[in-house]
Symmetry: C2
C-alpha cells in the first residue's frame, strides 16, 4: 500500500499551509523540518520541490523555501481564471435554476454566516466555509467537469484567502456574500465577476497601502 515518506510529508505540509497554520511567507527550513519529522534532508527537499511545482511554496536558490506569497499578478491571474469558471457555472445555473439546486448555496451561505458570527477569530473555519460556498455555487451548475476544473484551483484560492485575512473582517465577509447570493439569479455572471474582482482589488489595494 506503501505511501512514501515524501508523499505523506508533502500532504502534511499542504494541509498545514492550506489551514493557515503556516502563513504565506513563512520560511520552511530543511534542518528544522528534518528534525521535526525525523526524515533525511533529501526527503524534505523532494517534498518541498513537489510543493514548489504545485505553487504552494516558492523556492529561492540558496535561500530556501517559504510558503508562497501571491504577488499582484498571481492574484489577478488566479481571480481571472476563477471568474471565468465560476461565471460559466452561474450561466449554466441560471439556465436550469430549479429551487433544489439553490438549496445547497443557501445552506453554505448560512454556514459561512454562522462561522463569522460564532467565531470571528477562527479564520481557518471561516475560510473553509468561504471556500465551501464558492464550491457550492460551482456544484450547483450540475456539471462534474466544471466541479473538477474548479477543484484544481482550490488550493491556490485558499492561499489567496489566507492573505485576504487581514483585509476582510467577518462582518464585511457576511455582507459581500449575502449580496452575492442575492444577486446571483438576478444579475447572473456579472454578480460573481464583480464579487471576485472586488476581493482581488481589496487585497491589492491594502497591500499597496502598507507600501
Amino acid at each position: 500500500m506503501a505511501e512514501t515518506a515524501v508523499e505523506t510529508l508533502a500532504s502534511v505540509l499542504r494541509t498545514r499551509i492550506l489551514s493557515g497554520e503556516l502563513a504565506p511567507g513563512t520560511p520552511l527550513r530543511e534542518e528544522a523540518l528534518s528534525s521535526e519529522y525525523e526524515l533525511g534532508r533529501h526527503t524534505i527537499r523532494a517534498a518541498l520541490r513537489q510543493l514548489g511545482g504545485e505553487r504552494l511554496v516558492s523556492i529561492q536558490p540558496y535561500s530556501g523555501a517559504r510558503v508562497t506569497l501571491l504577488d499582484d499578478d498571481d492574484v489577478r491571474a488566479l481571480m481571472q481564471l476563477r471568474s471565468a469558471l465560476e461565471g460559466e457555472a452561474v450561466r449554466l445555473l441560471n439556465r436550469r435554476s430549479d429551487d433544489t439546486t439553490l438549496a445547497g448555496i443557501h445552506t453554505a451561505n448560512d454556514e459561512l454566516r454562522r462561522a463569522c458570527l460564532d467565531s470571528p477569530t477562527d479564520r481557518a473555519r471561516i475560510e473553509r466555509a468561504h471556500a465551501a460556498l464558492h464550491h457550492a455555487i460551482v456544484d450547483a451548475a450540475g456539471s462534474p467537469r466544471i466541479t473538477d476544473a474548479h477543484a484544481r484551483l482550490e488550493a491556490e484560492s485558499i492561499l489567496f484567502l489566507a492573505q485576504l485575512r487581514h483585509v476582510l473582517d467577518a462582518e464585511e465577509m457576511i455582507r459581500q456574500h449575502d449580496q452575492l447570493v442575492g444577486d446571483l439569479l438576478i444579475r447572473g455572471e456579472d454578480a460573481i465577476h464583480e464579487h471576485l474582482e472586488r476581493a482581488a482589488d481589496q487585497l491589492i489595494a491594502a497591500r499597496a497601502a502598507d507600501h
Copy 2:
C-alpha cells in the same frame, strides 16, 4: 546568477516533454537521466518531483516517473477550464472587435495552415502553431490578466495536443480552425466552446475505440 542544476534540468525536461520528443507515457529512469546529464540521482529526483507537482510527469511509488498520460477526467477538466477562459476572452473580443485586433488571429491561423501543408509530419511545429493560434485569440481580448491565466494552462494544453496527435490529421486541423476563426465573430463564445469540446470528445472517443 546561479541557476541551480535542479532548475535547469527541470526546464530541459519540460522543454523535451512539451516539444513531444518525450511522448506521454515515456518512462523517465533515474539512472538513465543521471548518466545522460551527469548529475547525481538526488538531483534528478528533485527535478522529477517538481515536474510531478506541475503535473507534467506522474510518479508511481517504486515504479518511477513517466511523462503524464492525461486520462479522460483530466482532459475534460482541462478543456472545461480552457473553455471558460477562452469563452470569456471571445466575449470581451466581440465587445471591442476592431479589425486590428483580429489581424493577429488571422496571421496565427495562416501560420497554422502553412505548418499543416508544408510539413504535415512535423507535429511539433503544428502543435506550436496550434497553441499560438489559441494564444492569439486570448491575446486579442486585450486583457493581460486573461493572457496570464491562459499561460498557466498552456503547458498542460500542449500535453493534451501531444496525445491528440494520433487522432487529428493535418487536414482536419485546418478545417476545424478555419471554421472556428470564421465563426468567432458570428457565434461568439459558443464557437469556441464547441471547438474545444469536439477536440476533447475526439480524443476520448478514439481512446475508447482502441479500448
